[in-house]
Amino acid sequence: MAVAAPQTTGAASSTVRDAARVALIGNPNTGKTTLFNRLCGARAKTSNFPGTTTASRVGRAALPGDWIAEIIDLPGLYELGLDVPETRIARDVLSGAGLYRQPDAVLVVIDACNLTRNLVLVGELLAYDLPVVVALNMIDLAQGRGLTIDGQKLSERLGCPVVPMIARRGDGVDEVRSALARSLGRTPPAQAPAVGIPGEGASIEVLTNWADDVMAYSAGRPSAPHARDPFTERLDGVFTHPALGLVVFLLVMGGLFYTLFALATIPMDLIEATFARLGDFAAQVLPEGPVRDLVSQGIIGGVAGTVVFLPQICLLFFLISLLEDTGYLARAAFVMDRVLRRFGLPGHAFVPLLTSSACALPGIMSTRLIPDRRDRLATILVAPLMSCSARLPVYVLLTSLLFPRQPLYAAACFAACYLLGALAALGTATLIGRTWLRGEARPMVLELPTYKWPSLRNAVFTAKDQGLAFLQTAGTVIMAICIVMWWLSAYPQVPPPERAVALRAQASSATMSDAQRDVWLAEAEALEVKASQRGSFAGQLGRLAQPVFAPLGFDAQLTVGILTSFLAREVFVSTMSVLVGGSGDAEVDVGVIERIRSATRDDGTPLFTAATSASALVFFVLAMQCLPTLTVTRRETGSGRYAFLQFAYMSVLAYVAALVVYQALRAGGIQ
């Protein structure tokens, strides 16, 4: 299938087979990632290009003649002259500037259906004086449109090997390997070099005219702008229709999130149960002391707190990859662009915002779909305001406290929390667009890729890569934070209160029923945990910070609950349960709610009045109480400044809103 192609210049074939470096490059939507996965399999490593937040994938491919090639997957780009970060990276890699080692060859993937536009990039690459191999992909789709490209003629005009292929099916991959090996071997040229290739620095107009000429020579006819595909026209008519498009979008997104919620909970529950057992096991086998506590609670708890996010992240990226492959996402971006543009966000922001309703971590990671940096930053900064699943137990607790035995009001209040979060996100996006990130979202200009069947293989590799990237970067920091927070809430250890000691002594006497003994032991344990919480650094910090939260109606106990939940919001329920004398079970059952409702402050007044509950609810809707999210924000923006900004404005917004609610309710006579 490979076309016998002119070879690059002359050094004799080396007998030493060091790993050669090959840059893989191409326009977006040409099947570049599919070819990378075919060449390198599952062994690729994902990281960022040095000093940037642009993802880089590097893999190793075995080539004929004992060659091992290190393949660098460069970002998809249309031309090398564009002044965008992705293009700058590609130029630096190709020229070996800065930290990069110049590649030994370039493998460029081009779309046979879009030959002229893809050849512009090839024309630019040929000016780099590097061996180039062209992978002419999707020839089946081109032939389906009545376009037959003569690979031999194309190779003649380009002066480099051209391999017709169908990367999705794996057709032509072996020929690509062979062509790469020949180029790396630098065997003598088989024919005269091509003439008429635009030189370095040629304008886009010159390159396009040249590409048109090459297209006409290779395909026997020029590009035909009138040749429209009726199938694509019909689908575009539906998917981008103002009303129908929105209905389809809601159905697709509903399906995506139902799948995400329904499927991710199974491995998440399994992970939590496994780590809980592992913690119990460690507690049983290790001798009592600080090391046992560190391993069983700090380290195992920290690892669990990281790994538990993996199913959602992997599954989300798997599903997004499938959708993106079909070509639908580009159309959906236009549907949402009409709505989100009014708030200074691009249409692309819908996936991150919706995903953040499940969890802000994958939501922020999925902002990589947004091409413009300003739009991407704006989306990252507001995404955590969408109500995530971690807020659910807190909403359940506080709405139940606010509206006891009034399920309809409680449900309405629950829905209002989601609405408040969404409105706050959109309002903040508008504000950010007028202050920190001045300007509107960039007007959308997007290539609408060819509709095609998605690649399961690509989706699996994408999910794996994103999961590993999360574990390697954010995961390590999250685990460290979990351990520190555990230490703050567990130390210094305080002696058990006298009442707890007395209860344990009573429980050890033999003259009572097992039921009574269990009650006393449970009460003793609750008193010990409560004393431990109060005496810990976190508890001391809570008492120290209480005056700050007093205008919001929070006492020292509630302040401890708020502070500990900065690790993760859901911790609030278990902390409050412990502080008011229950167990640390995070499940929100009726017993927990009743116990918290009847809890009192040091002066004997109720801990949760209506005004306090409403104030706490508003605080939790708006506050940034998720350290893992801040870690991911820092990683995705490449700067701690944005994470700090996110934390600061969300905390201030939450504080002010809660203050207004509490003071207004008090002024209205509601305690």
Binding site: L115, R117, A224, H226, E233, T240, D337, R438, L448
Partner: protein, 105 residues
């Protein structure tokens, strides 16, 4: 005013990059792409857009005097340039200036 709110001057290649085909005194005035109906075949003359959008359009194949077909009017507007289908928001379609293609067919 944000960076994209500015009324930018029309960005065109320099005069030396004149269209290949001869222009005549009767050459029609450029009109916004958004004013045309679906199915129109036109030639691209220039833009009144921000530089980033301009560069992206050029990279996608909208070079001076290229032929394009309006596949769908409205929001979004869909055009075909050679074999590439490009979706454009209404604001971008307003800023793309074209002339009817007299060589059509």
């Amino acid at each position: 005013m944000g960076r994209r709110d500015v009324d930018l001057p029309m960005i065109e290649p320099p005069a030396t990059a004149a269209p290949a085909r001869a222009t005549t005194p009767a050459d029609p005035d450029p009109i916004p792409l958004s004013s045309l109906r679906a199915g129109s075949v036109v030639r691209f003359r220039g833009t009144a857009l921000d530089p980033e959008s301009c560069d992206l359009l050029r990279a996608l194949g909208l070079t001076r005097e290229c032929q394009l077909t309006l596949c769908k009017a409205g929001e979004p507007c869909i055009v075909q340039v050679r074999s590439t289908r490009i979706g454009l928001s209404g604001k971008v379609a307003d800023g793309i200036l074209v002339v009817p293609d007299t060589q059509e067919g």
